[in-house]
């Protein structure tokens, strides 16, 4: 794959937190429609890497081009780029003062000048898709974690983004709720959404990923298909990691 085809192109990115090298000369490209899953131990830099893709983190050197926009070039309209990038957080981050429906309609109405009626129609369709239409008038605090995360996915989709970023979407959930969120993500993957997912769910990686990336200590150590990854892991660090979690 050449850099020109990629919708996300990360080139030689380095980032430090104080003395710690969080990202160490990382390069990664994602093609349109591709599902990339990033795995790795805690503190390996995988969440940081994901967050640099919509500039929630600063970087010290390197270059990231998303959908044709050079993210860290001064003067880039970052808000415009972020409209194309849906993001789902570990801690859901639903707007606590808004109902589920209002969480979904706020951005399309304010940022895309969509009429309230149309935004609500779209929102209800999305809530149908994630299976919680009946909770449309609830406040986030009234929902379970799994329900909140599904609303968060629907909220990101309401902006009709080209890319979806998931930052450990199931790590804060009780085990019995993980499945409902993963189901929504798998369905999204089947529809052809471009996805970059940081997760510990190897089942999801196996089922939905086109490519799996293993990170440790701020470096990408191995990249490959799920097949290759789980059957013939090469790097000793990856073998050790897999033996610990599988």
């Amino acid at each position: 794959m050449t850099a020109g085809d990629a919708i996300i192109n990360i080139r030689n990115v380095t980032k430090r937190f104080g003395g710690l090298l969080a990202l160490d000369d990382v390069s990664l490209s994602v093609a349109p429609g591709e599902r990339v899953v990033i795995i790795g131990p805690s503190g390996s830099g995988k969440s940081t890497l994901l967050r640099t893709i919509n500039r929630l983190e600063t970087i010290d050197s390197g270059k990231i081009v998303v959908d044709g926009f050079d993210l860290y070039r001064p003067g880039v309209d970052i808000a415009r780029v972020r409209q194309e990038l849906g993001m789902v957080f570990q801690s859901f981050n639903l707007f606590r003062h808004k109902t589920v429906l209002q969480n979904l309609t706020l951005a399309p109405v304010k940022l895309k000048n969509m009429s309230k009626e149309k935004a609500e129609r779209v929102a209800l369709d999305l809530l149908d898709k994630v299976g919680i239409r009946d909770k449309a008038s609830c406040y986030p605090a009234q929902l379970s974690g799994g329900q909140q995360q599904r609303v968060a996915i629907a909220r990101a989709l309401a902006m009709n983004p080209k890319i979806m970023l998931f930052d450990e979407p199931t790590s804060a959930l009780d085990p019995e709720m993980i499945g409902e969120v993963l189901d929504v993500m798998v369905a999204l993957a089947r529809e052809g959404m471009t996805m970059v997912v940081v997760t510990h769910e190897m089942g999801f990686a196996r089922e939905a990923a086109d490519r799996v990336v293993f990170m440790d200590a701020g470096k990408i150590l191995e990249t490959g298909t799920p097949e290759h990854f789980f059957k013939n892991p090469e790097h000793p660090r990856l073998r050790q990691f897999l033996s610990q979690i599988l």
Partner: protein, 290 residues
């Protein structure tokens, strides 16, 4: 002066900013706790959660009403006469309070935003304002604006009283706004930014509406504290409740009776207001309920 421990307590008692999370480590989401800011100065807010205080509020309120009624009915002279003399003063007290709190909230909003601004100059300006105002007693500020500024420009008594109260409370209100804004989880900002909202839009659509709920109790508190502090304007030529009482007492020499009535009236007003704040607080917290 009672203002001193108050200003010392401010800032430290406010919620810690949860800005210092560690984004590189795998973060666990914060538990969905109810955020609140506790500054105990205006009046105690009687919520149902605090049953002891709720009962205390009832005792104080019923007691004050009873004392008021008893004095007027059993000793109409001089108490009924005093009460008939005071309504103008109550009106002025409320006028000064409402005008000052309104202006103070606007000043406070901008000061609070200034205090968290990334713009060095704006931040420094807001912080300096807060420091200076917090360091000068309200009574001195009142004298200063009334007499010192009156030297150069002719300002009406009432207006200078309102300016002084607003400037003073604007600084305190700024700290309340700042703490309220900083108490909102950083994830809310990140979620909003990631949807494509600008920093300003994020502040106005996402952060401030939530901060407003968090700061309502302290703002209500400030309101009540301000109402009580308006009694200071009686030393200027503003005929507020206390000043009217002094006028009555100085002609009749009934100091004890007059100030008893004044105290009861202030108490009834502040108790009613603290109840109102509690009611609003419960209404606004509906989305936190499960």
């Amino acid at each position: 002066m009672r203002r001193k421990p108050r200003s010392a307590g401010r800032g430290e008692n406010l919620l810690p900013a949860d800005a210092f999370y560690d984004s590189k480590a795998d973060r666990m989401p914060e538990p969905e706790e109810k955020k609140s800011i506790s500054i105990g100065d205006g009046a105690a807010i009687p919520t149902h959660a605090d049953s002891g205080l709720f009962t205390a509020w009832r005792i104080a309120f019923v007691g004050a009403l009873f004392a008021f009624g008893y004095l007027i009915v059993v000793h109409p002279d001089p108490y009924a006469r005093i009460v008939r003399f005071l309504p103008d003063g109550i009106l002025v007290t409320f006028e000064v309070t409402f005008a000052s709190i309104g202006i103070a909230m606007v000043i406070g909003l901008f000061t609070g935003l200034g205090r968290i601004s990334h713009n060095r100059a704006v931040n420094l300006l807001a912080s300096t304002y807060v420091e200076v105002v917090r360091g000068v007693p309200l009574l001195v500020q009142l004298f200063y604006i009334y007499y010192a500024l009156g030297h150069f420009v002719k300002i009406n008594d009432m207006v200078s009283a309102i300016i002084a109260m607003s400037v003073c409370y604007g600084a305190y209100m700024g700290e309340v706004f700042r703490a309220g804004i900083e108490s909102i989880d950083r994830g809310q900002t990140e979620a909003s930014l990631s949807l494509g909202f600008s920093r300003h839009q994020t502040m106005f659509y996402v952060i401030l509406p939530q901060a407003l709920r968090t700061i309502l109790p302290p703002v209500g508190n400030e309101f009540i504290a301000l109402l009580k502090d308006t009694s200071l304007v009686s030393i200027l030529a503003v005929s507020d409740l206390l000043r009217r009482g002094r006028e009555f007492a100085s002609t009749t020499f009934m100091y004890f009776e007059t100030y008893t009535m004044i105290a009861i009236i202030y108490l009834i007003i502040t108790l009613l207001l603290s109840k109102l704040v509690a009611f609003m607080e419960e209404r606004l917290s509906r989305y936190d309920r499960r």
